[in-house]
Amino acid sequence: MEIKNIKSTNIPAFFDQMIKSGKVVIAPVLKKSGKVFFEAVQSYDQVSTDYIQTGFSAKSVVFPKVEELFSFKKDDEGIEITNNLHTIPETVVWGLRPCDASAFNYLTEFFLKENPDTYFTARKEKTTLIAISCAKADNACFCTSVELNPGSTSGSDILLTAMGESVYIELITEKGKAAVETAASLFTPGEEKSKEEFLAKVTSVFSMDEVKVRIKTAYDSAEWKHASMGCFGCGACAFACPTCTCFDIQDEGTQDSGKRLRCWDACGFGLFTKHTSGHNPRTNQTERRRQRLMHKFKYSVENLGIVSCVGCGRCIRNCPAHLNIFENILSVTK
């Protein structure tokens, strides 16, 4: 892998050069609420450097909370259908954590492997991921349990690791190499070395190998009820999750002109599976939470060979009841 170094004092120059080159740069920004969220910025001054994890993941760059599938207009000739795929700009996501970046591997596999998704493809092609290793973690972080770590390169185009005065840069993909070319003079060639001492320590809470085996027979575990009774049935976990992909399709406008949208949805909502007849295949919250967790740890492994939880801890931090996914996985696979 190609390694480069950059002085930490030169990071703002690199960052602003990407903006000058015409890219939309999405970065962590501290909001009035005290929480940090990804949003498009105009300069490095706006970027937060002190955060363990952003409130929501970076998935919205490739899977926005609302995506216009097409707009339509009726006239005497019939109906005209158009979409805006051609307007998607070159985008850089700056400062996502390695767990989030690795989620893009899953998203890509999910959206493209079978029945490839036009909108995801278009956005993914234009997106460069510049991740930053984690120097800090909290009690909700559990990346090491799902076989990642605070310095994983999986999914990123570039991974930055702060090492004192200097930043160690791993150029993982061609896209990553192209991104540093925008400000080539700021970088010096480097050599591969251990990042260990600069990374947060995240203790592993379970063995993924054991969980993968035990979850096969976990469907009927009585523990699902204990794990789920506190679940309010909101979408806070799913919307914040870097790998949750469920969506709704909704039309807005009139029958003469309007648009068809795809909007984030969540399997935890009671209406998610409800038939028009009133019949509901998943009648209670225990069944719904089981579906969400089994999808992450069992179904996505069976369907795509990937555990679709990256241990970012957002579902734990965002849950109004503070339900803990890894505690639940531990209890149902006991």
């Binding site: 599938l69 097409f70 339509f72 009726k74 019939g78 109906i79 259908i81 979409n83 999910f110 959206f111 079978e114 029945n115 490839p116 998704d117 036009t118 909108y119 469907y219 992909t245 469920c246 969506f247 709704d248 399709i249 909704q250 039309d251 807005e252 406008g253 009139t254 029958q255 003469d256 002109s257 309007g258 068809r260 795809r262 949805d265 399997c267 998610f272 599976t273 409800k274 038939h275 028009t276 007849s277 019949h279 295949p281 998943r282 069944e287 579906q291 089994m294 999808h295 069992k298 179904y299 069976e302 369907n303």
Partner: protein, 279 residues
């Protein structure tokens, strides 16, 4: 060639409207664009997303047989926002159609076998496609038996076709209505479909059964067939969970790891038994 954008619908013209039963209609649809018509093909068992622009999409099977070319038919009950908007459409209106989606009935594997259909209410439309598909190549199959019932006489769909099947010597039709749903001149059976099935069991030898309808009919009917000697892999059903995308992405129709829309909607009883009961 770029893969097709699965969310852009074909434009379809409503070429005929048949009132089947209270709130139930059949639309015959023709492609507005001949190029779409030329490249479109489907097989029995598949479904589509039918959309009214500005209102949304609704999921139903394709109710006409692939052996009848040049058009598609769908039969739906007006109950939600989209189906109500669809019901308000008029002849020659343009609606959207995406599909065909999902897997198909393995008709070729059934050559030479007896075929049993069990269905209720508007569970008949998904099987009507298959029934006509088989009847249009009648010589390739053994006995064909149909158990069909509805809440009331008025709720039976495809009344003319039921009459035609009743009069055909190569079709056995058990036509029933729920107790209390009969009219004074009703000449068919009275009783719930599972009851009629238990009282008049089909022979299981060299037979395949296909069951479709509300989840309760599927959940009750499959074990009855099992008791009558049908092997689980000779019992087929078509599941109808809530769906949005039709292509295995939106997550609404999942039953465990299974996406009804792309892994189904056609499943054998064996496959159903291996799923969580979330349908």
């Amino acid at each position: 060639m770029e893969p097709k954008n699965q969310y852009i619908p074909y434009k379809m013209r409503i070429a005929n409207i048949i009132e089947e039963a209270p709130l139930v209609q059949t639309y015959r649809l023709e492609f507005v664009d001949e190029k779409d018509a030329a490249q479109f093909s489907f097989k029995a068992g598949q479904f589509a997303e039918y959309g009214v622009f500005g209102e949304g999409e609704s999921t139903f099977c394709i109710a006409s047989s692939p052996t009848r070319e040049g058009y598609l038919e769908c039969t739906f009950r007006s109950s939600g926002r989209v189906t109500k908007a669809l019901a308000n459409c008029e002849l020659n209106d343009i609606i959207g159609l995406r599909g065909p989606f999902g897997n198909t009935f393995p008709i070729e594997e059934w050559y030479g076998k007896n075929i049993v259909f069990i269905t209720g209410g508007i569970g008949l439309p998904p099987l009507r496609c298959l029934i006509w598909n088989l009847l249009d190549q009648r010589e390739k199959f053994g006995d064909i038996t149909i158990y069909y019932g509805a809440r009331t006489v008025n709720d039976l769909v495809y009344k003319e076709e039921l009459e035609e099947w009743k009069n055909r010597s190569d079709v056995n039709l058990f036509l029933t209505v729920d107790p209390g749903g009969e009219t004074p001149d009703w000449k068919g059976l009275v009783g719930f479909v599972p009851t009629i099935l238990e009282q008049n069991p089909p022979k299981s030898e060299n037979s395949v059964a296909i069951i479709a309808g509300p989840p309760i009919l599927i959940k009750m009917g499959m074990p009855i067939l099992g008791k009558n000697g049908f092997e689980n892999n000779n019992i087929y059903t078509t599941l109808e969970n809530r769906m949005k995308c039709g292509v295995g992405k939106c997550g609404h129709c999942t039953v465990g790891k299974t996406y009804v829309c792309k892994d189904g909607p056609v499943f054998t009883y064996d496959e159903v038994l291996n799923m969580p009961p979330e349908y």
